[in-house]
Symmetry: C2
Amino acid sequence: MKLENDLLLRTARGEKVERPPVWLMRQAGRILPQYRALRGSLSGFKELVETPPLAAEVTIQPVDELGVDAAIIFSDILVIPEAMGLTYEMVEKKGPWFPKTIESLADVKNLGSGENVIGELQYVFDALAITKKELNGRVPLIGFAGAPWTIFSYMLEGSGSKTFSKARKFLYQEPEAAKLLLEKITDTTIAYLKQKIKSGADIVQVFDSWAGILPPHQYSEFAIPYLRKICEAITEVPVIVFAKGAWFALPELGALDCQVLGVDWNMKVGDLRGKHNIQQVLQGNLDPCMLYASPQVVRSETLQMIAHFGGRHICNLGHGVYPDTPLENVKVFVNTVKGSSYS
Amino acid sequence: MKLENDLLLRTARGEKVERPPVWLMRQAGRILPQYRALRGSLSGFKELVETPPLAAEVTIQPVDELGVDAAIIFSDILVIPEAMGLTYEMVEKKGPWFPKTIESLADVKNLGSGENVIGELQYVFDALAITKKELNGRVPLIGFAGAPWTIFSYMLEGSGSKTFSKARKFLYQEPEAAKLLLEKITDTTIAYLKQKIKSGADIVQVFDSWAGILPPHQYSEFAIPYLRKICEAITEVPVIVFAKGAWFALPELGALDCQVLGVDWNMKVGDLRGKHNIQQVLQGNLDPCMLYASPQVVRSETLQMIAHFGGRHICNLGHGVYPDTPLENVKVFVNTVKGSSYS
């Protein structure tokens, strides 16, 4: 089906466009009253993730309410460890928690991986198919996965962490087991993303949320090679890589075979294009807290960001939108981008 | 009293030295069995902070047990908000918690500040005086404070946070109230550090633990000017500034009137001296998780770090030592530095 609005895809492919496309990380979520109402009627987060018609419904909500240029499938990066054999729970107000974590090479060997296990995630593929049908070509649909290092972190740590010292200890103490696990996650992620694309994803994003916690030499050894493998395997659609906090790895990220690089709000576009000579299309990077300012400030800062990037740019925040962000300001952000022009 | 070992001070003043000095952030703490034994006999963390002979005892423990080249007074950065009128509690396994936080300009105006309030912190000054006497000139004594932005974050947020979005929201919504609060914290911090120096501190460190969460333009506006004011006010002893994660502010940090810049494990010394042309003595930056590796690896990585820095360097980790670090490896780290030589 031909898309009515393919601005995101044209931009990701590096074509000259009339204005930047806009969407927000976590746009399908607590900023929307429709989401909160639906979520409040359910037993928990996982029920929403695992019930395709409901996941499709919240995926489409921001397209209706905000008029963004893309939908991103409502799901969680932790479905991958679950498919591999480590189930997670989502604890209200605390975040994810794994009853069992990886502690040894034997644990790694016991995990499933690759195409064999992604059948477990049929509910994700069904959600994509329903969403695709219901979107009816209005905007592209984004699929996503966690980067291998970030998924690894959760599988070792068992939850979020300030230091991720358990996951990082494993890199120093069991580097070979760590690499085997990263390989298994990578293979599973590739199979998963390919099936997402078959189910309707027009573009995919890989989130390396915990990139910034590694020293440069470890990011080069335990993160970049697996990102590279994913980027090289996904040839069907454009790939966005968002490695939050990995400013020190910009030369390696810039060399990845991905079409778009997501950047956080610490990074200055002048440095990215200049000092670091990044060639990919860039996505980001308004400070998510900027949306707490007045609508006038949101508007002027958004226009300033568009001017600074000056093209080859997908407008987004530098992180997921925070749940208590005023909806009015989210709309000002989106509408300011939609009213802008490169002419 | 003349110091037997003044290597840290000579290095901080930029003198040519025989080897780098070594100490660890959080060396007085849970890595030491002596500390855990004493802490276990007390009602809580604050009892230890507020009882000068006990604070002195744990300050000296790592000098005895590890042979480090400096003692750092056992205390907490949150004594400053407490002196200004916001008491904190230290919740076991959760961290600091403020029953009352700053929500408005009126709240800011109600806070005390400067020399008037530091009398509340006599227990800190007493702890320094006792420590100084008991150290008997063995090694220098480090005093410390939180940087204004980091202290501000806790006063707004009321606890640690993944996003510090409450504190950051205040910068966008109430910039003038924010600046008044930062001024008050700065004035109090200067009075506090000066009194610490009078009580025996030979050098002081300012910790900007949450530096990395601000966008560059806000770090320039809401953090750097207050750090600058502190650095210019403290002329009695050398000043170390450690702004964790503030790689984007390196030109401004490099221009501060401080003798030493602390750096985290994301930063490469070649870039610091080369690309960023940092002139200050540098402190850091072994990855704290490196101390989970084998003693052989700890030794070789420590020697490699010393060689990379090549002088004008204080050996430390790039963050506080993690509580579950093997004591043996901490000793290997310290002893490797002490056995090294620039010759």
